[in-house]
Symmetry: C2
């Protein structure tokens, strides 16, 4: 037997750390619903305001609220409040006027809360202090229960409450790009949590915990399957599986939706056409909708990706997107369902600027969609890049309800390994002013319907959820699920920083020595990714297919707009995509004031400079540096920011459990390595285009360009 | 808003049960290393014998033993034994004579323990009672530590111990059929636990817990990748990933192995041939082995599937399996590595009886393999069917070390949803007497090398492990992982029932009111599967590709031996595969006494009747019933047995935690449904072949044959 060289001490220590970790290790499964005991002093105060639970009624949402309050208060305060009919001092009374005589007797003004809103108020009844959670629906009450728990989790006083809250959007939806074989397209958290093979019979607790997490942030809809849809998901066996999930989700106010393959009438219906104007096709979809609603009475409706990246659609029959959307809308309308029709389209013919094509296809259709159709528009005109300007369709279709689609999964921001908090990205686009019809018409006010007076409104997030124990593939990516829900609740008022702080307090610690540096780190993290991947308005520089790592040199793909070189246009003279009037004139798709600002070199935001302009390498930036110099320095800034994040995290060990501390430490090390890879590979390539060497004092790429061009990752996840 | 029909009460209750389940719910992650507090009275006695831990040395295996003893004794006894240099009364002293002066001073006789064996003895030192765990290697000590914990977990006295144990097999190996994209071929427990994309950097605690579980049952080798191998797993990036896993596993005495694609020299080596006699090919494999051993000094070696089901191999160059195996054997020999060469081959030309082909190919090669080659033979001659006779190669290659390969994953026994304890299957084959050269040469004695005097010996199990939280996809499938390890430790002496009892006590409860019925249920469970899937020696009746569900009617596949009809030969006259001298004469591959018994209708075991004989439907069984009647009754017996399992389990609710009780309850319901499906579909088909109706008093199939033939499961897992 040969003797073995043992692992180094550090490796050994980490092995032992892992070995002795308690079974109750912090593996992230609890998400932000992490009800750990709070400081004794504070707990005593809270207990006085949570002595009893007095639920109004026994519907599943009320039962879920009772269960959550018991679980949460028991965990946080160390004592389990009894459930009681009569409310004594410190009781928590919750319900609707319709379901609870106690609530009705209080004669509260719930008029402005809508169906899903809630109020939480500290009152005295018969001179006994009580806390009331009231709403117009049982689900509203459940939302209020989660809100109350959030106050305790974040250590806010709850003895003098007078809160009112209601969601500003009707549809707050997660899109799961989950395939029927449990592969998740652009999924970086393991396989799909939908165990289709064992559904409908087996419904693991995971499904209930998923619903709890969504309800706690106000998500009220889930599209179960990939927008690149398989028609089989509309067949009876899969409808039964979807119905089983709907049954688990229903108490939490969550409706299920399905992505519909437009050619399903041919593929599973035995028809010879899917033409939206064909009566047999219309009858088939009506019957299919009836069948689904018979199994799922609160089925939400369909999401459709049509005539996009090879998917079938109405244009296959020379019909418009409106005619296609209305076909499905008419089928679900009798049942109160909606159709979410994606505007993510670009021609597969030699194209105009890809950034312009969705607008060109859809804006002329404004007003031609049924009232139960929402057109789902991505936040930017290309495809979920680290930074894009807001999509020009926002504000340009006033007669059509527009939803915004964002990615929660980080297809283009480092998968689940890079720490990148997306709150600032969401806030940036939501606060963008479309100036249509005039100032103040922010994207937030477009999608909440207030700008154009639509009742149908919504926001969709491409989920980052998988079977990984921590749900999102990394601990910090849970924050992106969280911030999506919180921002979709009130897109205009929501801000990334307070939501990040809220999440950190609920998920990790209320110790300010931890909270402040971590929130700062999160708030800067997305900009760091922009800097080391696609600075100054560059975009679409990633590797082909799996999108893992840099490949700005790729220029040989079948379709021009699939090539990074199409987007950066770098040559010996300069870099950038000219979208001014002198170029593709994409700026003309925005309101004049907005387009003019983007066109004006003195006014365009420098973070979007190369999105809208092709400029010489010697172009003078506002800093006085040349574009080439600034480009290099921006890449360096991104890399340095990751180093700073590592140093910050390393100093926080005293405030976080070993398992999550180690997980994050390792992921930040990977991010550091990959940030350098992005920086070095990109600069090696751009140097070869510009024929320039790196400025004095900057580091040369670690390897020659050919090294980076030779790297291959055939099994990168999510593809 | 339309009102919603709420889920039925039972569904609602299960929802609530899930909601209120504690965070520390029993999700199965702990496996049999479930160190829950034991009864106070018993704990007191045990504590007296575990007051202190006195480790000998600080090597990683000793550190792992200390960590495990602390974790286990703390969990079981509620007090943490201190680690101390000097051993007081009740101390636990463990180590090797080489590493611990304390152990050396005791001058114990460890001569017969080998490298991996251990002794546990209660002694008095300076008149103080102590317990000593001694071995010749630190890993032996770790095995002893797990053994001591097992005694406490199963409530056996530990105050008068005098145990000696050593493994009878050198190689106790798990084969992971895991692909580089995390798909697991024949995996029913989620995707691969190997997160190749994040390796080598990220090594989650899961990997350490996997190693702990394996070490606790004596598994000392892991083949990381699928036998249908991708050559990329031999490239530098993947070798580095394998090295990271080896580093985690090393303290637990586990070596990593890789499945090697025979054509790798061409695919990743840039050679034009993979001919084993080509000097460049030989040099390439030597260099590759050197590269791997530089990264993994204790690398175990290669597993190879060659010239089997489309895999490349030496026969592509008109060389023998021996010449192919020796090529790799010579490459790893200088480093102490081995080659496990699979005998699972069958011709893709119009074949002789498939059951004969491995023997035909390999037996003539006996004696032509290098000493560091083990030929890996499946338990039976076809392919892991619910029941097969032992493989005729066992006993027929005395000059060659033979390993046995079994499936732990239940490709053909209901995936992970059906409860089927495989201990009886393993025991049945291990105890089969090959009669070569004479009586007593059981399969166990063939593979442990004692029959033919081989030092190289081993047993391989195709793992049933995936990323599912409970590791195996179901709670009871953990028992199959467990029994594999325990039987591989001592194949001749091991018995399925005591191992099942041990596992139940460690995993669930020591309450005899639970243990006895559950062990009985487990012991009968595999026979139930045989009865409702492939009774009386029938085999290979499953659906094509994914193997989910029955399809005895399939007869149109490209290769005759892929069709179920090839195996059952059912027609109007009779059923069964004639493997007697009058038929394929497969019986001639066994020792004469064995072959004669299989050939003799009065001697052949009826459970193997139709494996060896084609018989008329009216053949009189020993019961006096006709074959047709017996066939129907056997299917019915299988279905009834599942019903009995459900009744048994339903009565055990008081003794098991809610989460595992509910999980098992749901899975047994699925098994019941699928057992009826197997029975009904198979009998509907055989009735159509035999032209007979079902006997009086038996239930007609629920649907006509065409219904079962029309079922389709394109996304069944594991394919």
């Amino acid at each position: 037997m040969r003797t073995i060289a043992w692992a180094g001490l550090s490796a050994l220590l980490s092995i032992l750390a892992a070995i002795v970790a308690p079974a109750s290790a912090e593996d992230g499964y609890d998400l932000w619903l992490r009800y750990r005991p709070i400081e004794a002093a504070a707990a005593a105060d809270y207990r006085m305001v949570a002595t009893q639970l007095a639920p109004g009624g026994a519907s599943p949402p009320i039962a879920a609220a009772t269960a959550e309050l018991r679980r949460g208060l028991t965990g946080l305060l160390g004592t389990t409040p009894e459930v009681s009919e009569t409310a004594g001092a410190g009781a928590l009374i919750y319900g609707t006027p319709a379901g609870s005589p106690q609530i009705a007797a209080l004669d509260l003004d719930l008029g402005d809360l809508g169906r899903e809103g809630y109020m939480i108020r500290s009152l005295r009844i018969d001179d006994r202090p009580v806390t009331v959670i009231a709403a117009n629906s049982d689900v509203g009450v459940l939302y209020g229960a989660f809100a109350l728990l959030r106050l305790v989790q974040t250590r806010q006083p709850i003895d003098r409450l007078d809160l009112r809250a209601r969601p500003k959007l009707a549809l707050r939806v997660l899109n799961h790009w989950d395939d029927l074989d449990r592969h998740v397209e652009r999924g970086y958290a393991g396989q799909s949590i939908w165990d289709w093979h064992r559904l409908p019979d087996y419904r693991p607790e995971l499904y209930t915990d998923y619903a709890r997490a969504n309800a706690s942030i106000g998500v009220n809809g889930v599209v179960l399957n990939n927008v690149n849809a398989n028609a089989l998901s509309l067949t009876a066996p899969y409808v039964a599986k979807a119905a089983a999930l709907a049954e688990v989700f229903r108490p939490y106010g969550i409706r299920v939706y399905l992505s519909a393959r437009f050619s399903a009438p041919v593929e599973i219906g035995g028809l010879t056409t899917a033409d939206p104007l064909d009566p047999d096709v219309q009858a088939w979809w009506r019957a299919k909708a009836d069948e689904i609603y018979a199994a799922i009475p609160d089925f939400g409706g369909f999401l459709v990706k049509a005539n996009s990246e090879g998917q079938p659609g109405p244009q296959d029959y020379h019909r418009t997107h409106a005619e296609g959307a209305n076909l499905l809308a008419d089928a679900v309308a009798p049942h109160g369902g909606v159709v979410m029709w994606r505007a993510f389209v670009y021609s597969d013919q030699a194209p105009d600027d890809r950034a312009k094509q969705a607008y060109t296809d859809f804006v002329p259709l404004d007003g031609r969609f049924r009232p139960n159709v929402a057109v789902q528009v991505k936040n930017g005109p290309i495809d979920f890049q680290p930074r894009e300007p807001f999509h020009p369709i926002f504000g340009a279709m006033p007669a059509t309800p527009l939803m915004m689609e964002v990615q929660i999964t980080k297809e283009y921001l480092g998968f689940s390994t890079h720490l990148a908090y997306l709150g600032p990205l969401y806030e940036e686009v939501l606060q963008s002013d479309t100036m249509r019809p005039g100032a103040g018409a922010t994207v937030a006010r477009v999608i909440d319907g207030s700008a154009d007076g639509h009742a149908l409104s919504g926001m969709a997030g491409v989920a980052n959820i998988g079977a990984d124990r921590n749900w999102s593939g990394s601990h910090f990516d849970q924050a992106n699920w969280y911030v999506f829900g919180r921002m979709a609740w009130d897109p205009e008022a929501a801000r990334a920083r307070p939501i990040a702080e809220e999440w950190v307090r609920m998920t990790f610690s209320n110790d300010d020595r931890f909270v402040e540096p971590v929130v700062d780190m999160m708030m800067g993290s997305r900009e760091a990714v922009v800097d080391y991947m696609t600075p100054l308005g560059l975009h679409h520089l990633m590797a082909t297919g799996h999108h893992y790592g840099p490949a700005p040199w790729v220029s040989d793909l079948a379709r021009p707009e699939w090539n990074p070189t199409y987007y950066h246009q770098a040559d010996a003279d300069g870099i950038g995509f000219d979208r001014t009037a002198a170029g593709s004139d994409a700026v003309a798709q925005y309101a004049p004031q907005v387009g003019d600002r983007f066109s004006d070199l003195d006014a365009v935001p420098e973070p979007l400079l190369l999105w809208f302009h092709h400029l010489p390498w010697d172009y003078r930036m506002r800093s006085g540096k040349t574009l080439w110099e600034e480009l290099v320095l921006t890449y360096d800034r991104g890399v340095s920011a990751v180093g700073e994040m590592r140093r910050t995290w390393a100093g926080l060990q005293p405030y976080v459990d070993p398992q999550r501390f180690d997980d994050v430490t390792v992921f930040l090390a990977i991010q550091d390595k990959e940030a350098r890879w992005w920086r070095d590979a990109s600069l090696a390539y751009f140097a070869s285009r510009s024929g320039r060497s790196l400025p004095e004092g900057t580091t040369e790429p670690e390897h020659p360009l050919t090294y980076y061009q030779g790297l291959s990752y055939p099994f990168a996840p999510g593809n």
